[in-house]
């Protein structure tokens, strides 16, 4: 649901079904102060070596122009910074439309420092045969409150892929709504999370198959440690007549200790007859036998745990087709997994 960050009366509450496990008003008690410190750069990225040139106007509204200059690869670098007294807030909205057959790799990097609240909304409109791959890194401070919403419309034969990698925050929610056009259109919405301490991460996805012959694939893998909480809410709605739909949703989580939490709500709502839909959801613990095997070969416990943790989430990143972006994400995951055990 849309809401105004600066108007607490409009905030979603736990009485809203989709916000049952993530309580915004508990993390953000009052409206934040509008921020002047938000840093937004849309950069045309030559990922090969990461040289880039600034091409945006510093606002999310300028995204379409940045895409025009980007020649298929855009790096969106967004950092929020808190004020010394009180919580600062940023709210922004942007739109990217891809023309027929156009393709784009969008790397979104959300970072920041101190106490801030951010609410960003991105709209993506894909024309026939357009290809969009979003790789999102949510590497925010533990004091942050952040809600990232996106609304996607697809057209026949278009491809929409999103990969979200998150370490959580005081409150962190990534929400995607996709209108699936079917007719050969493909949607993939994957994700991986590594949460520790008090971190909260909520990954909510909504896909609506409105027409025939569309596919949706999801693989979400994550870990929670300490007192961290992960929420995964995935809903795939297949409308009457959307025959030939093929939808698969898988969520696999590891809880590394008692006290860590994982809340999963996978939903398939099917009104068509001739469809293939599947979902799987597993929550377990780290494999102690594998841990012993690693240690018996000489790895200390921290190294072995970090290696196995990283190995658990790596399959998500390995699906990224672009080699440079994939390697960047793999390095980031290795660094974050090591950080869990002070490496």
């Amino acid at each position: 649901m849309a809401f105004d960050l600066f108007d607490p009366a409009s905030w979603p509450t736990r009485r809203d079904e989709d916000w049952k496990y993530s309580d915004l008003s508990r993390s953000l008690r009052e409206a934040p102060q509008p921020s002047h410190l938000t840093h937004i750069q849309a950069q045309v990225a030559d990922f090969n070596g990461f040289y880039w040139h600034c091409a945006g106007d510093g606002q999310l509204a300028g995204l379409q122009e940045a895409v025009r200059q980007a020649r298929g690869r855009l790096y969106l670098d967004m950092g929020d910074f808190g004020l010394e007294d009180g919580v600062s807030g940023y709210q922004g909205e942007g739109r990217i439309a891809l023309a027929e057959g156009e393709s784009l790799i969008l790397l979104e990097d959300y970072t920041g420092a101190f106490d801030y609240a951010a609410h960003t909304t991105l709209h993506f409109d894909l024309a026939k045969g357009a290809h969009l791959t979003r790789v999102v890194i949510l590497d925010e401070p533990e004091t942050a409150v952040s809600v990232r919403q996106s609304y996607v419309t697809t057209a026949p034969d278009s491809v929409y892929k999103q990969y979200v990698f998150a370490t959580g925050a005081k409150f962190q929610r990534f929400e995607s709504h996709v209108d699936h056009a079917g007719h050969g259109a493909e949607v993939e919405m994957h994700g991986a999370y590594l949460l520790k301490d008090q971190a909260h991460f909520d990954y909510t996805t909504r896909v609506r198959h409105a027409d025939i012959n569309g596919t949706t694939q999801q693989l979400i893998k994550g870990l929670t440690k300490d007192r961290a909480t992960a929420v995964f809410q995935g809903r795939i709605l297949v409308e009457r007549g959307a025959d030939g739909t093929d939808a698969r949703m898988h969520h696999q989580a590891l809880m590394l200790n008692d006290g860590a939490r994982v809340r999963a709500k996978p939903e398939l709502e099917i009104y068509a007859d001739d469809v293939q839909c599947a979902h799987g959801n597993t929550v377990g613990a780290l494999d102690e036998a594998a841990l012993f095997f690693c240690q018996s070969r000489g790895m200390d416990e921290a190294t072995a745990r970090a290696l196995l943790m990283q190995a658990f989430v790596v399959p998500v990143a390995e699906q990224i087709a672009d080699e440079v972006v994939r390697d960047m994400v793999l390095n980031w995951l290795e660094h974050k997994a090591g950080g869990f055990y002070g490496l």
């Binding site: 494999d287 095997f293 690693c294 240690q295 018996s296 070969r297 000489g298 200390d300 190995a311 399959p315």
Partner: protein, 249 residues
């Protein structure tokens, strides 16, 4: 080299090893044979430090160092290598990454320099070739979807790279066809040296045709009940363990 005295071990409150004593000098290969449930694998796991294996009595030292006082990874760095009967699958970790992480962790603990990627690649390719392991396989997650023979060849590859002082081979022949058994045995034999000791745990005499032991010990109900030369294996193959089981009872 390896000295075990009066080792008594319980797993989940059940005593499995009941005062086991065994000495394997450097340069020798000893075999442990015995019926199911005698405690063969428990011995290997206890020496390697598997959690929940409770030692209530006895000692185990490697070159005078107290193994039982060490953490699992410290035992590896001290030179102990347990080759698993069922090597574990490690999804998401390429074999090469796994081995290099293990090698450098051991070297770090011993105060040695890490092995750089180029040298490591050179070493691993060379050894993989002798074990008939395809280089592509080294990029795949360790043991995931590997056949029994491939897993055991991976175990030998790790031994050859980690260069342990003492090897325990737990039922290394299980799951191997005759060709794989030959390749694996040749790999193990190549590691025999005057400075290195080996303990071969096996059910059948078959493996000992390929890895010839200096001594054979018969383990029944948690104790070594008989020791002898290589000829003992043939006798066991002909008459079985019954005689020793009845004596122990």
């Amino acid at each position: 080299m390896l000295n075990i005295e009066n080792l008594t071990v319980a797993v989940e409150d059940k005593t499995i090893l009941k005062g086991l004593t065994l000495n394997v000098p450097a340069g020798e290969v000893h075999a442990i044979m015995g019926p199911n449930g005698a405690g063969k694998s428990t011995l290997g796991y206890t020496l390697a430090g598997r959690p929940n294996y409770e030692v209530s009595e006895g000692s185990a030292t490697l070159n005078g160092e107290d193994l039982l006082a060490m953490e699992v990874h410290e035992r590896a760095s001290a030179g102990l290598y347990l080759s698993f009967q069922y090597p574990l699958e490690i999804p998401g970790v390429p074999a090469m990454t796994f081995i290099r992480t293990a090698l450098n962790a051991q070297r770090k603990l011993r105060g040695e320099d890490e092995v750089g990627a180029p040298q490591f690649l050179k070493d691993i390719r060379e050894i993989a070739k002798t074990l008939k392991i395809d280089t592509e396989m080294l990029k795949r997650p360790l043991n995931v979807g590997f056949s029994g023979g491939e897993k055991k060849r991976m175990e030998v590859l790790q031994m050859a790279l980690l260069k342990p002082k003492f090897l325990i081979l737990d039922e290394t022949d299980s799951g191997l066809d005759i060709d794989a058994l030959k390749v694996v045995s040749e790999g193990v034999n190549a590691l025999r040296s005057p400075e290195r000791g080996m303990l071969v745990i096996t059910h059948y005499q078959r493996l000992l045709d390929h890895i010839k032991p200096d001594r054979i010990h018969i383990l029944v109900d948690g104790r070594i009940v008989h020791s002898g030369g290589p000829e003992l294996a043939l006798e066991l193959e002909a008459h079985g363990y019954d005689r020793y089981v009845n004596e122990a009872a």
